[in-house]
């Protein structure tokens, strides 16, 4: 019963409100429009047009300025560099490069061929040439001195990353073992440039720091 009374009374209330509101809502939009010239044929006051023009200019200027500001915020060198912002690509390039460095700088006296193969897979361009020039020496040394070198990456950080090229700082630890002698550990820091070729990151330049 209560509900029904509530429902019944509702339309009445609405009607009342509508009656109250109608005169107001009809008058208010007509007020300014009246002075705008709809009623006064022929003689229109100038100020609405000036106001309109000023408003237009102000809106255009504000819109343009905000748009330019937004573009400026976006087009910084910060956004062009994807290091860390693209977490997946950063992890991938770090992993690929760390892996590659571990492989090409690890060899045993009898396993230099493996390392050579690895180098051909993970190096390209200038880095491959440099490596090839160096490796003859390394091969001889490894065989003569029964030298085993094990390299692993302890830290690697990406300084610059785009869709197809990356620049990294890599900390390495290298363990040298000569047969019959205690192992020695040395540290090395490299600056590495890598390029994405055929879906794989290849090292194109290696610099020592």
């Amino acid at each position: 019963m209560n509900e029904r009374t509530a429902l019944e009374s509702k339309p009445v209330e609405d009607e009342d409100r509508a009656d109250d509101a109608e005169p107001d809502s009809q008058e208010s939009p007509e007020g300014p429009e009246g002075t705008d010239g709809t009623d006064e044929h022929g003689r229109r006051p100038r100020w609405p047009r000036i106001l309109g023009a000023l408003l237009t200019v102000a809106l255009l200027a504000t819109g343009g300025a905000l748009f330019a500001e937004g573009q400026q915020l976006r087009d910084t060198p910060a956004t062009a560099n994807l290091a860390l912002t693209d977490a997946e690509a950063t992890t991938r390039v770090t992993g690929d490069v760390s892996n590659a460095l571990g492989r090409i700088f690890s060899y045993g006296p009898d396993a230099t061929a493996l390392t050579k193969d690895a180098a051909r897979q993970v190096l390209a361009g200038k880095a491959l040439q440099q490596y090839a020039a160096l490796f003859g020496q390394v091969e001889k040394q490894a065989a003569d001195q029964k030298l085993t070198l094990t390299t692993h990456v302890v830290r690697a950080g990406v300084t610059r990353l785009t869709g197809s090229s990356a620049h990294l700082l890599v900390f390495l630890d290298q363990v040298y073992e000569r047969r019959g002698r205690p192992a020695t550990t040395a540290s090395a820091q490299l600056s590495v440039t890598a390029e994405l070729r055929d879906g794989q990151w290849r090292i194109v330049e290696i610099g020592s720091i």
Binding site: G52, T76, N81, V154, T159, L169, A186
Partner: protein
Amino acid sequence: MTLRTRHLGGWAVLLAAALVCSLGTWSYAQARSDRTLSYAKARDAALAQGKRHLATLNSLDGKDATSVTTGLRAWRDSSTGPLHDQLKRSSATDARTLTTAGDTARGKVTSAALTALDDRTGTAELIATVDVRVTPRTGTPGIQRKRFTATLARTGHGWKVKALTAMRAGDGG
């Protein structure tokens, strides 16, 4: 009729202007609230400030007591949290030993990169190689090549060094 068209034209122009304004506002708001953009900026700020602080923390003018005190104050200004506390605690003894030794060190970051960044909590991991040119009170200067890992934290005055570890060979595990 012409009056009416002109009238409508005026409204259309105004409407178009309002549209341009709202588009501009939207574009700007979008750029401001861009998470990737703010993350990228935080990354660059952390790296730049981290490098600067690392150079400071590897530099000290050991000429006299005043210059040592100034240097130690600079160390404290570059650090925060645990490192800051540690430097503060040992500042008196540090000042004495460093003044007695009288060595002057000038650190230069040769390369640095962030390995991690948490924009939300304001922490970052930095790796860097630093050349420290040490000039003893007597004797010839030499260059020490060092590598560091540092934890950075965002403070009210920018990114500062919270923890600093010199990594020797074999330290990385």
